[in-house]
Symmetry: C2
Subunit: 338 residues, 2 copies
């Protein structure tokens, strides 16, 4: 008779049984009595020195470092992380940094000061080296991104994200299939070693497949990843006289700013110009017309990151790399090429 | 020669000098050497038992409980709180709860588990009793709201917010002055003992001043404080056949959802219907047309909350109740009554 049998019988996790047996306060009364019923029914004798007692980290806190917290995309992800962490018996310590700050430095400081068991990085760099992540000292999960441009061994970290290149390809293909041949792309930078670069690859792949040449005058880099920069860059593109009938924005917030810029320049969406993006933030449902976008499963991203991390912390689970899929919301911003 | 002289000479706060003298790690090298220069120049001899050493709370963490974290309005406020707390030598422990959850219970649990020095409540209830807040046990600041409907003594807590009634009055007056006589109000509930009720008072005050009768068929309660509910409620109002030429939404996010509902029902903003709100979230700059709204000083709200709290913690400062003003952004959603 092991603690696992008790967990199975009572329909809760091993760590919950452990918490009940250790009289920890963070278990509801209902769960506590269900577990104790199982203990009695199965005649389970807890043995505090026994191997089957789960070795939990001393501190039950998971740190979350959010880089670019002004991005509304992260809000539901953070909520899902907190909820999942709580369900697994962990508290969440949140630290927000600006888009330009160093999430590894911030994460390492947080791990030390709060003696964290593990870390979830939300919106960081895609090019870590083993030396750079060494100061973290605890298991970590890259949430919403991967280490695609870095030199980390896949067994050294975990990640949960969409396949940026494949989803960008899918978005741009929605435009080429409607006959668009002059498609602008709105992104941070084509060589940012990050989300922009990967989605830019998907853009190029879709152009190539459609037999369209790459025209650098259609590649609009914003440099700053914020709405004001996206607005200004779209205005500049329009004023440059470069012709285009569609825009692929790598993020909903950029697409919303681009739609405003198109409107202010007298262009109708989608009659004069189609717009498509990736993300699915709440606000994109309320643009006029509704933004056509590929919706990331925000809750699943957060929940899966916690699941992977907790499995590593409690069960010596392996590092995992999970790719989740988006769902196309048709919206009203994509039309046939005029 | 006191620690205050050193602080003044080196241009940093007393608490920063104290941290340098106590060899605390959370001070930058530049600040450290500036302070030590001052110590040497002024021949200041730190005396660890001296009265002038600041008595800092054992734990240097400030808790922030955010109720309704999905509200993008809070993002810049939270960032300002974290930045100000950091500058004052405190770390921030953030806890997000849903709009319907109890921020006092959550706050009390956070204070105990993290041994917090103080608490900032973001987006809570307006009707606390002394018994309800007693479990918090630490000084706290209501940020973005007040205890207007509660029985707390003003000396028992602090608050930083706009004057909800006065600002709502100001918003609705923008509509009555343009000749609107049928003005709908979009709010959570007229008797929520909270933000809705206060802003509803301002709405009524403006109607009364303009000699307009209160028509309950124009009072649209959403019950849920989210965009989907605001959208549905506006659609229902339109479908009810009630005539109106303007909408006052008590929040930008509700106004954006209302604009979408008006559009979907074939009404032009502002030609057929004007819209005005209060908040000033980033997204409201990018609606078409740009939302006319009263912008809350989000950064000041967060920074002032920290300043009041730190002053209480470090200098036995008094509880304060600060009212900050909004700034009207004209936008393009208000026109003369057709």
């Amino acid at each position: 008779m092991t603690i696992k049998d008790v967990a199975e019988y009572s329909g809760v996790s091993v760590s919950t049984v452990s918490r009940v047996l250790n009289n920890r306060p963070d278990v509801s009364g209902a769960v506590r009595s269900r577990v104790m019923d199982a203990v009695h029914t199965l005649h389970y004798v807890p043995n505090n020195s026994a191997r089957d007692l789960v070795k939990r980290p001393q501190n039950d806190a998971i740190g979350v470092v959010v880089r670019g917290a002004e991005n509304p995309f992260f809000t539901p992800v953070i909520r899902a992380v907190e909820h999942s962490a709580e369900c697994a018996g962990y508290s969440m310590v949140l630290h927000q940094i600006k888009a330009g700050e160093d999430e590894l430095l911030a994460g390492a400081a947080l791990v030390r000061s709060k003696r964290l068991a593990g870390l979830i990085l939300l919106g960081g760099c895609y090019d870590y080296s083993p030396e750079e992540v060494a100061p973290l000292e605890v298991p970590f999960v890259c949430c919403t991104y991967t280490n695609r441009f870095g030199s980390l061994n896949r067994g050294e970290y975990s990640s949960v994200s969409i396949d940026d290149q494949a989803e960008a390809y899918r978005a741009v293909r929605c435009l080429t299939r409607r006959g668009h041949r002059r498609i602008a792309v709105l992104l941070d930078s084509v060589e940012d070693h990050s989300i922009s670069q990967l989605r830019y690859r998907g853009y190029r792949q879709a152009l190539e497949e459609a037999g369209l040449p790459l025209d650098m005058s259609l590649v609009a880099e914003t440099v700053d990843f914020d709405m004001a920069a996206a607005y200004r860059r779209t205005r500049a593109l329009l004023e440059s006289g470069t012709e285009f009938t569609a825009v692929f924005a790598i993020a909903d917030s950029m697409a919303i700013a681009a739609m405003k810029a198109l409107h202010d320049a007298g262009r109708q969406v989608p009659e004069d110009c189609s717009v498509i993006a990736i993300d699915g933030i709440e606000m994109s449902q309320y643009t006029v017309p509704t933004l056509t976008t590929l919706i990331q499963p925000q809750e699943a991203l957060g929940a899966q990151a916690v699941e992977i991390l907790v499995n590593i912390l409690e069960n010596h689970g392996e590092c995992r790399h999970l790719r989740v899929e988006t769902a196309l919301r048709p919206g009203g911003t994509v039309a046939d090429c005029p």
